[in-house]
Symmetry: C2
DNA sequence: ATACATTTGTTCATTAATGAACAAATGTGC
DNA sequence: GCACATTTGTTCATTAATGAACAAATGTAT
């Protein structure tokens, strides 16, 4: 891929993240993004149809990264599988902290929950084991919301615990419930 | 000016500063700069004839900034005139610290001394006052080397004192000798 | 509702960046 | 010294970014 494309898209994404830390997404104009990214306004339309498309693509990229991490961590126990997760979150704290903070919350949080449901769907087994006899959707919802809640807490409170500790703790909690 | 030009030149300058913090300027290749800046190697030649030209322009830009600060601070006493100086050095600590550190030292340091001599030339008066009867070049050399020495110490030791303190201290030392 | 300003989305000619290819020059090991 | 690899400096056709201009749509104040 032409490095000019990567560079302008990078600049645009960083700009959106920065702006969303400052104000509501609805109050952000294409001009704001252009100014912040130092990319001509017209150029933005060469890459995205509008600011929602830009945000979507930005979110979707991270979701895809997370999905790949999940895939490559399959067959591990939850403790080990969680480590790359939390390391990824830490590496991209600028994105995740602004996305999980007040202003841009709904856009990303909803997508995040949707993604987690998708990922955990196959992990829940109500035919035997710990969750035998329970309602699948209830268990799924229970797991996913707790997961999001913990991640949200960790990110927005400055990631005080190191990733490996988070991975271990959350790993144990998952083992206990799946 | 076309923002693409500014952006690639910015990237190239940042790359050179970064690389000079890591290795000797002679060991830096155009390819290194291209990789670090994420700018096509060919593009570098659209802006600079070679890496020395790039370094020269980088240095000269800062020298010019410093000259402008001097001009606008003329007619102040040394204490006030020094403040914008040290603030500028602080803002550009990445440049000045690597340039005054071991590896890239000669290139910038020599130019820096040359510039200071130029600036202080008109300040030294051996026909009357504190320096009456002294040799002009000796006094000039005395002032300039002490100035460079103090700046060098301040920068390379992590700028422990805030700029306004440095400005005050150096201001007093200059008053005493000019 | 009306006037007015801002933002949007698109066009287009111009300019800059790209990367590949290449020969020449410059290291580097033996 | 000689082979060999790396780096340099240049070319060129292709692609991306630019900013200006514009009409349309969307706010905003009165």
């Amino acid at each position: 891929m032409d490095r000019r494309i990567l560079k302008t898209q990078e600049a645009l994404k960083r700009a959106v993240i920065g702006l969303m830390a400052e104000k509501n997404f609805d109050d952000i104009t294409i001009q704001d993004i252009s100014d912040r990214a130092n990319v001509s306004r017209g150029t933005i339309y060469l890459h995205y149809v509008d600011k929602f498309d830009l945000l979507d693509k930005l979110i979707e990229e991270h979701i895809n990264e997370l999905r790949e991490i999940c895939e490559s961590a399959d067959e591990m126990d939850y403790k080990d599988a969680n480590l790359p997760w939390f390391e990824y979150l830490e590496r991209n704290y600028l994105f995740f902290s602004t996305m999980l903070a007040s202003k841009g919350a709904p856009y990303f949080r909803n997508r995040f929950v949707e993604f987690l449901i998708e990922e955990f769907k196959d992990e829940v087994d109500t035919t035997k084991g710990i969750n035998h006899g329970l309602n699948e959707d209830v268990v799924l919802q229970f797991i996913v919301t707790s997961y999001v809640g913990v991640v949200e807490w960790w990110i927005t409170n400055g990631m005080l615990l190191p990733p490996h500790v988070m991975a271990e703790q959350v790993g144990l909690l998952l083992e206990r419930n799946l």
